[in-house]
Symmetry: C2
Subunit: 137 residues, 2 copies
Amino acid sequence: MKLTSKGRYAVMALADIAKFDAIGPVSLRDISLRQGISILYLEQIFLKLKKHNIVNSIRGINGGYTLIKNPENLKLSDIFKAVDEKVKTVSCNKNSKKGCNGKSNKCITHNLWDELEIHINTFFEKRSLRDLVNNNK
Amino acid sequence: MKLTSKGRYAVMALADIAKFDAIGPVSLRDISLRQGISILYLEQIFLKLKKHNIVNSIRGINGGYTLIKNPENLKLSDIFKAVDEKVKTVSCNKNSKKGCNGKSNKCITHNLWDELEIHINTFFEKRSLRDLVNNNK
DNA sequence: GAATACTTGACTAATTTAGTCGGGTATATA
DNA sequence: TATATACCCGACTAAATTAGTCAAGTATTC
């Protein structure tokens, strides 16, 4: 079981913005320098964050990104959802005849994975970006 | 984030044994047939389960595997541990100068990942193999 | 002694992930 | 209005991981 860095980076970058956006939009260049994340990779991540209405972008010379919600209303689960970070319940194949097909012939672990997924989601839903930033001050 | 099938297979196979070992040791061949898992892959998994004292093996013509503990004392966390299924807190590199080095310069997500790991482990520690088998009867 | 079933390490193919590249477009400011 | 900055976007690549196979055993029972 593994957590990908895409989700981690997204959280780090947004926390960075939360810290510094009093002055104005925060550029990926700055985030990259402060957090040590490749700027090209950040671009990819922010594309998704923008599509999911987590950040606004401002183009041009003093441009950058700003948070749409304020940090206490931004749940970590929203962030992970935006960058496709999710628990995969792995290969309960709908068309297979033996093993679990996700319907009547439920494999014994099927419910377990479902429960775990809920368990983890709850964890991230209880935490906002503000919680994170505060914890690390 | 992803759960591998190795862990899932291990749980399925052990649950299968729990169901059928009243008669005697359960062979991988039988598990393979009932659960639809490749027998060669099962061999790999059971090597690890044996090394971690979760199953006993009996060779020869009526051989197979038996559980060492009874199902109510076998925690799912033990099973996952045995087959190397674990939450990875990803790349907080001890020697990197920028970003998180796991020591003083903790990245903002570091604690979060630690907490999540504990959260998930707790989930699996609260569940025994018996719980699983019962739920699906 | 033959069949069955566990033992073990090495190998391979497929998938996923992390990260890069190239070529854009928009905008502020000098 | 030129230009530098910074966002936009799709395609690509390399590395790592995972799922699963192969080959060549050894032990045990009937």
